[in-house]
């Protein structure tokens, strides 16, 4: 019984982290239709910057991520402008954009190798070695702190998108660009800012990643499947959907690990995704008209 409860807690903690790595994709891929396959590479970039700040002046990874998020935001702006002028303006952008971002993925990996070497890097924070225990439950802060940060980040993004004018403009751009133009809003600018936000979330997710596990430059490749699976499972372009998708995969993976054997957990996760796609292609919380 406590095993079930603990598996549930673990699954939820993992889901928090999953949400952080995939919420950026929910924005860029789900809302802007940009297949940013280099997103995990930016996450790893965030990890390395957190590592650098931590080993240099002992800064906490999360503090580093927050301090650097404007820089990541700016990086996203620049990248989107480049992407837009090369692809979107010319039509048939999606596939070419895919190759473009593959290229960016490799270039980012090389930059990391040149700057930090190819070894595994980790950070150490005071709370990482602490575990809160409540009777039979235990709550390792190494996972709980990322969970809280991620929850804060996704919820505030959701509030931003649904409550502010700009946020609604982002949601609108996903549905009807023309209408937005008629209202006097520059859709390219809206998209650039939204893309900037998505890259900024990658920076934060990177800090969480290095708190949870050691990183090396090509680690991002392992996350490509996951970061795309979650938004698709939950419903494209919906942040609550991303949370749902992350929860399903996190809990499924935790339960498989506890009760059946961890070896099968990717098959369970991605099998669930295939099943969901076959039964409800628009995602669990997606809108049917897409």
């Amino acid at each position: 019984m406590t095993l079930i409860a603990n598996a549930l807690v673990s699954g939820l903690l993992l889901a928090g982290f999953y949400a952080a790595v995939s919420v950026g994709i929910a924005i860029s891929f789900g809302m802007l239709d940009v297949v940013n396959i280099a997103h995990p590479a930016f996450i790893v970039l965030g990890s390395y910057l957190a590592y650098f700040a931590s080993s240099w002046i002992g800064l906490d990874p999360i503090v580093t991520a927050l301090v650097l998020s404007p820089a990541f935001f700016a990086l996203g702006l620049v990248l989107y402008r480049l992407y837009h002028s090369s692809f979107e303006r010319r039509g048939r952008e999606r596939l070419r954009g895919l190759a473009f971002f593959f290229g960016i993925l490799f270039v980012t990996e090389v930059a990391l190798i040149l700057a930090f070497g190819v070894d595994y890097r980790l950070v150490n924070t005071r709370y990482m070695d602490t575990t809160w225990r409540f009777g039979a439950f235990d709550l390792p802060l190494r996972l709980f702190v990322p969970f809280l940060v991620s929850l804060g980040m996704t919820l505030s993004l959701q509030a931003f998108l649904s409550r502010t004018f700009f946020g609604r403009a982002v949601l609108a751009v996903a549905q009807d660009e023309l209408a937005l133009q008629l209202m006097g809003v520059d859709p390219v600018r809206v998209k650039a800012i939204a893309f900037g936000i998505s890259i900024a979330t990658a920076g934060v997710a990177g800090a969480l990643l290095i708190i949870i596990q050691p990183v090396q430059p090509s680690l991002g490749r392992e996350y490509i499947g996951l970061v795309f699976a979650i938004p698709v499972l939950g419903g494209m372009g919906s942040i609550p959907g991303t949370l749902v998708g992350a929860t399903i995969l996190g809990v499924a993976s935790s339960f498989t690990s506890t009760f059946f054997g961890p070896s099968w957990s990717p098959a369970v996760s991605f099998g669930l995704l295939l099943l969901a796609l076959a039964l409800r292609p628009e995602g669990l919380l997606g809108k049917a008209a897409r």
């Binding site: 090389v110 490509i224 070896s263 996760s269 991605f270 295939l274 076959a278």
Partner: protein, 318 residues
């Protein structure tokens, strides 16, 4: 040029090239490198039959490649099957799964289809890792019972010859698909599937043929891989490089014609082979990345599109 005559031409050139090299070249490196490049010609052509002609992006090339690889490993472990049988089996299995993928297109369009293929690759990887008979996570060793057949000096030469024939065959098939009535139907699907359906194009049947051919060819390329490496393990077989290359090569070459994947595979494949042994490791990866970014931004229709545009510009009166 009519299709049968073209096929004869391609086969003839391939046969000539093989005879010439097997007889003349003594450099084993040439065969390894050429094998790898030709393998990408097959993969890129295969991907393009679906991705380029119909617009359905297959992210799981590695999965179909792996189906071929592990069919061979399975048959080798079971009966020490000769390579021809392994190739037939690998092609067949991958084609069947390709057919299944075709039914997926009924419900999933665009990016959803791409994500589904990605998920399929992950599920298949998990199965292979847990299947001890084909080596599981530890990998499988292939020990060849005998030396190369008469007329060949080494195993590498044999594989090169087989791969050259397969590459020629894939190109011929791709060209046939493109120039036949089927090709026009596929192009109609690519441009607007609903409109195509309305105007009487048998979209489902065409898509099924296309996914089956595409999957089968990828499996065929994979089936020889265990004989080339003699040791295969899931990490290498499901490497990201297959998914990336089989998409990037047609993109760079041009996706609307059978020649595009060929050009792209030759260019990127040879570049990778050369870079690997000339520049330092970091710059190798960097150059591949930079090439990708550069090509898709500068030549958005691929090399084929680019040359065609140049040609048109020259023809146009001043």
């Amino acid at each position: 040029m009519s299709s049968p005559r073209f096929t004869a031409l391609v086969t003839g050139i391939a046969a000539l090239a093989i005879v010439a090299t097997v007889a003349g070249v003594r450099n084993e490196y040439f065969f390894s490198a050429a094998y790898t490049v030709l393998q990408f010609v097959v993969l890129a052509s295969a991907w393009n039959i679906l991705g380029g002609f119909t617009g359905y992006v297959n992210f799981g090339s590695a999965a179909f490649f792996a189906l071929g690889v592990y069919s061979s490993v399975f048959l080798h472990n079971l009966v020490q099957a000769p390579i021809a049988l392994s190739i037939a089996a690998g092609t067949g299995v991958a084609a069947l799964v390709g057919l299944g993928m075709g039914y997926l297109t009924l419900r999933l369009r665009g990016v959803f289809f791409a994500i589904a293929t990605l998920a399929f690759a992950q599920v298949l990887l998990t199965f292979v890792v847990n299947w001890e008979y084909v080596g599981g996570a530890r990998g499988a060793y292939i020990v060849l019972p005998h030396g190369p057949p008469p007329g060949f000096r080494s195993n590498g030469q044999v594989l090169f010859a087989i791969m050259a024939v397969m590459a020629a065959g894939s190109l011929a098939l791709a060209r046939w698909v493109q120039t036949s009535t089927m090709g026009r139907g596929l192009a109609a699907i690519r441009d607007d599937e609903v409109a195509a359906e309305c105007s009487g194009v048998p979209t489902l049947r065409l898509k099924l043929v296309s996914t089956t051919l595409s999957g089968g060819l990828m499996g065929m390329a994979g089936a020889t891989f265990p004989y080339f490496l003699l040791y295969v393990e899931p990490g290498g077989v499901f490497s990201l490089s297959y998914a990336v290359n089989s998409i990037a090569m047609p993109l760079i070459g041009g996706m609307h014609s059978w020649a595009g994947p060929l050009l792209g595979a030759l260019l990127l494949g040879i570049a990778q082979q050369v870079l690997q042994v000339t520049v330092s490791a970091d710059w190798n990866l960097f150059l591949v990345g930079a090439l990708l970014v550069l090509f898709v931004t500068v030549a958005p229709e691929g090399i084929m599109g680019w040359t065609r545009r140049r040609g048109r510009a020259r023809e146009a009166p001043p």
